[in-house]
Symmetry: C2
Amino acid sequence: MSTSLHAHVVEHLGSRIVGGQIPRGSILLAAELEEKLQVSRSVIREAIRVLAQSGLVTSTKRVGIRVLGAESWNPYDTQVIRWRLVSEQKGTQLRSLTELRISVEPMAAELAAEVAPENMRKELMMISAQMSHYGRQGDLHKFLELDIRFHSLVLAASGNEMFANLATPIGAILRGRTELGLMPERPHEEALLWHQSVSDAISNSDSAGARKNMESIMRRTHNEICSLWEGQPRVFVDPPKEPR
Amino acid sequence: MSTSLHAHVVEHLGSRIVGGQIPRGSILLAAELEEKLQVSRSVIREAIRVLAQSGLVTSTKRVGIRVLGAESWNPYDTQVIRWRLVSEQKGTQLRSLTELRISVEPMAAELAAEVAPENMRKELMMISAQMSHYGRQGDLHKFLELDIRFHSLVLAASGNEMFANLATPIGAILRGRTELGLMPERPHEEALLWHQSVSDAISNSDSAGARKNMESIMRRTHNEICSLWEGQPRVFVDPPKEPR
DNA sequence: TGACACCAATCTGTGCAGGCATAAAAATAA
DNA sequence: TTATTTTTATGCCTGCACAGATTGGTGTCA
């Protein structure tokens, strides 16, 4: 076993809960899991703690480990996102993430134009130049990696750690989009120019320009993939009753 | 003890790490923690698992439990946010959250106008009416609770669970703003009208209007509290090197 | 002498097994 | 209905064995 044992248990249970094989409301007993997964109590307990933190289960005395419904899951948990992306809720997850990035990336570009450190502005210029090159050449694989790097960099250059932290799931979206063949066989010239303009604007501290061009990119992105979740139902959670 | 033991340990260690009393790079030993906190190994281990998931520590054999720096912390973890809000990084945390809500709430309002269920539209109308009433009356406490409910509702009514999940930290921002006396002694008439207009627009499925008025609210909000983080340094994290 | 590869000691987290305490649901009595 | 007892699964503790990483020493060769 290379990775730790309890991580395997987390993976096993987490993917099954998110995937729907273990339906909401199920009651798991630590003793049963011990036997079924052939691990000791301590491993089970640590795994349950982790799952509880992600909002997948709660464990209460005398009743057991209750599996919670999707509305309790922490939607920013990277594992939850990963599990959802390979489940039937894939469409819903893609929609949420895409709406989030449409909201965030223009602001990130605007901020980056104001506060990005010099080396990041330089790297952005390099990346967008390479994107144009490989894009016109039709090298989709290389283009994808550059695209991911580009958007991650803009998010990081905003100096907002919450923005920066979205890089990984957004990268997953971009990968998924090309894997599903939702990318044109050769990037649109327009898109190449917009990326170029974003990095130009950031380099010139032109925050309005950075935002405007990033908004253009987001608009096209949305149009390209919104067909994926056509008809997927929306989830409405009751807002938290004022605690404390 | 009403709450569980391991939760106390998580709280103890987490708040100290985020608060800076336990500096990055420190090495904690499970045995020492056992003795210092007077709890057993199992409790320590479960707590460490939870802290590790939040990115506060990693534990490796032969070396111990290493305390990680702020760039590794999960910025969407509710506990991390809570701890940061009572630490010296309060300004940075407020800025990140505010920038995020400025990005997200206009989009949430726009979506809500398109997809919100009828009961949520109704409640929004009620809330905004009450906000006007108590606001003009100068009842800041009542106004605050309504304001929190209003924004939480819009986020929930967007049908995007990632948006909806921001309600709690955003509520914390709003509470903090009034506690710090950053609210005018009586809400501006303008702000009351904007809230009213947002709920009107959502009720009438006028997505453009909902967005526009929410943007106005966000602009004013930003101006009212951006003084809090004047001069706070920004954190630039390296974007994740493409995995897989 | 000095550089380097290799091996053994040691330290610390990880996992296992079993024990008792306790809280909360369920059943029973009042 | 209300109060009390019983039941039962989790919470917490402890002793032990193991795995894997660091460290230091040993030996070889240049």
